[in-house]
Amino acid sequence: MNFGYTDEEERFRQELAVFLDKHLTEEIARQNWEDKGVGPEAREFSRKLAAYGFLGMGWPEEYGGKGLPPAYDFILLDELGKRWGAHVPLDVGYTMVGHTILRRGSEAMKKEFLPKIVGGEIEFCLGYTEPNAGSDLAAMMMRAEDKGDHFLISGQKTFNTECHYADYHWLAARTDFSPQGTGYKGVSLFIVDMDAPGVTVRPLWTMSGERTNEVYYDEVKVPRERLVGEKNKGFYYMMEALGSERNQVFVPSRLRPVLNMLLAYAQETRYQDRPLSKDPVVRRQLARAAVELEVAEVVADHSRWLEALELPMTHQPEMTKVMVSELEQRLVNAGMRILGPYGQLEEGSPWAPLGGRIEWYYLHSFMTTIGAGTSEIGRNVIAQRGLGLPRG
């Protein structure tokens, strides 16, 4: 049993820390953190991350990586998270899509995309959710007709979050319209240029100010080479990638700066001649949050470790997802309680405490137990895969 890092890993972490403290500005962090849209600064930062050798540690050398264990990529995510960097700047490609290309893409596809992903140069956006296919993704209706050398795609996606700045759409669409092709069968995955004729992106703004999108396809021609893997196997690829995606996206360390901010606030803010940190109720709230964060970290570590060793993952990434997302809500609620009436003040307001970040996080936190799958579906998965309870 060993819950620590190797000396090499620790060295990597320290070098990375020095780099990030210098180059990861608040502006860049916030472009990711608030999903406001990655701008030129973050793209620049992304290329620098790669140039300094901090990207691609866990990727095969032939596609621009270093062929090391995945632990390094997790360290990268942790260190970014501790500094308000929600993830690597171009994260859909790096933490999600890229792995499926590596597993399932043709050699040509790998050669075309992986080096740019590993080099922090291109970004993807996920094209899964549709108006009538949310929790029930297998109900998707987007049509991709096989025309031989290309597919002709029409339909609508929604809540596709990075599409206004991504270079490519990682699109799931139905390619089998026969009675056998219903549900999770008959779905294929495509890589679509975001500027392909017929693709329209319309903004949707969330309560906490993030932008997400509706994406419309009107007879979009997608070359056959952009079909990922085999036709009609797309849903399997999506599911196969899910565990790893959870591991990479639900990173407990992202909550460290929130906790630290609140700890400092409680120590520095006085009421009735003593710091709030001496109020037993405040102490209890912060201690509980700290404990939950420790717990979430070791739970996430376990799931990542399974992934790194290519051991079977069943319910573990889902457990990480549910726990981290719900912890975020509890932590932010504790924060709002500690801030009292000041909690309602937004960034930019006189008297807004902690730069209004807790207020923003509060609004944001309604989404954490919904996005990328609800806690309800998550618990079904945990019970069914983790304990063998019968499917409903």
Binding site: T129, N132, G134, S135, D136, A139, T158, F159, L204, W205, T206, M207, T212, T269, R270, Y271, Q272, L276, V281, Q329, N333, M336, R337, G340, P341, Y342, G343, Q344, L345, E346, E347, G348, S349, P350, W351, A352, E359, Y362, L363, F366, M367, T369, I370, G371, T374, S375, E376, R379
Partner: protein, 377 residues
């Protein structure tokens, strides 16, 4: 025991719902968040026409002279519609004058409130205090050359800019957090030395910081007796807390309607999601929170009108409803999922206001403290 509204209360409620359906759509509410003043003269005039601002004002000054029960029933409708504007601050200001103002103040201002000409607000919290604590009164008022000179600042003052008069709390004696020595003053918003700075808030409501630099007020600006303002302030804050509870109940009712409708219509996995047990349980929890909130709020309001009122019920209601409403909006978002998280969706109006209402007139922490005190702990 009778849980029903009286026919008069029911009529009041029905007419409020009709009026707000016509004059306070959710688009209007969204628009008012962007508006500097936060409400329109048309809306305000319409409310005045229906007599709303006179609800608690005695008949001799043109009001209806009803009680807290009617206030919370009305507030439910306002919360349901997310009614913007200074209804509650004005009502509290008027209540202060009706209770403790001198005859001239009453004569001048109360009829103007009823007619919709005068907008009032109450300024009592301060920036120096890290938690909600209305006893924390550091702003001072001292007599000089026959006038009152006020110095200091107030925070979280609703609708200060739209107000014609501000009821200012200031200390005329005693130390910080003493009940003794708190006084209320009626100041024109345009008084010299009184400056406003707008705050940006989660609910998009119009709250202000008020700074007081040698604000000189005439002797008769004092409302009630010097140094004896705490019982009045306490009563105003209980009234405010009850009204907020009412608003939250109305909001929760609407959120549950939106959510239950969605659960019946939204199909996933070949079935309305309202058939799934997890969704049913969420909805059941919402219904329990809603109905319990409504009953405790109404009971607390009723109690305050009885011979032997039970102020602990007010604290209990504010503590319970503040937390219950937060749970309701959380579950509403959970069931409404991404769709309900987009700014155009009405859920986002309610969930942001739920936080504001939770904090107004004391959050749950404050009111649990009040309950503990009244339990003799």
């Amino acid at each position: 025991m009778d849980f029903r509204l009286t026919p008069e209360q029911q009529m009041l409620k029905d007419s409020a719902r009709d009026f707000l359906a016509d004059h306070c759509s959710s688009d209007f509410v969204r628009q008012m968040e962007q508006d500097r003043r936060g409400f329109t003269s048309e809306l305000w005039a319409g409310m005045a026409e229906l007599g709303w601002m006179g609800l608690l004002i005695p008949e001799e000054y043109g009001g209806i002279g009803w009680g807290l029960t009617e206030l919370v029933v009305m507030a439910e409708e306002m919360g349901r519609a997310c009614l913007p504007g200074p209804f509650l601050p004005t009502t509290l200001g008027a209540l202060a004058l009706a209770q403790a103002g001198n005859e001239a103040q009453k004569q001048e201002i109360l009829p103007a409130v009823v007619s919709g000409e005068a907008v009032l607000t109450l300024a009592y919290l301060e920036a120096g205090c890290a938690v909600y604590d209305p006893l924390f009164q550091a702003a001072t008022a001292r007599k000089q050359d026959g006038a009152w000179l006020l110095e200091g600042g107030k925070l979280f003052v609703p609708d200060a800019e739209a107000s014609h008069w501000i009821l200012l709390c200031a200390r005329t004696s005693g130390s910080l957090r003493d009940q003794e020595g708190i006084s209320l003053f009626l100041a024109p918003r345009a008084a010299r030395g009184l400056e406003l700075r707008p705050l940006k808030t989660i609910a998009g409501d119009k709250q202000f910081e008020v700074s007081l630099k040698e604000v000189a007020l005439p002797p008769d600006a004092l409302v009630g007796e010097a140094g004896q303002g705490w019982p009045l302030l306490e009563q105003l804050l209980m009234t405010g807390a009850l009204a907020k509870c009412g608003e939250m109940v109305g909001g929760a009712a609407k959120v549950l309607e939106i959510t239950a409708d969605y659960a019946k219509e939204r199909v996933q996995f070949g079935s309305p999601i309202g058939r799934f047990q997890a969704v049913q349980h969420h909805c059941a929890n919402m219904l329990m929170d809603l109905e319990s909130s409504r009953f405790i709020t109404r009971k607390a309001a009723w109690s305050m009108g009885q011979e032997r009122p039970n102020p602990m019920l007010v604290a209990a209601a504010k503590a319970w409803v503040s937390e219950a409403y937060r749970r309701v909006v959380s579950l509403g978002h959970q069931i409404g999922a991404a769709t309900a998280y987009i700014v155009e969706h009405d859920m986002t109006l309610f969930s942001r206001r739920a936080k504001a209402a939770e904090l107004a007139f004391g959050d749950a922490a404050y009111h649990y403290g009040q309950v503990a005190q009244r339990l003799g702990l």
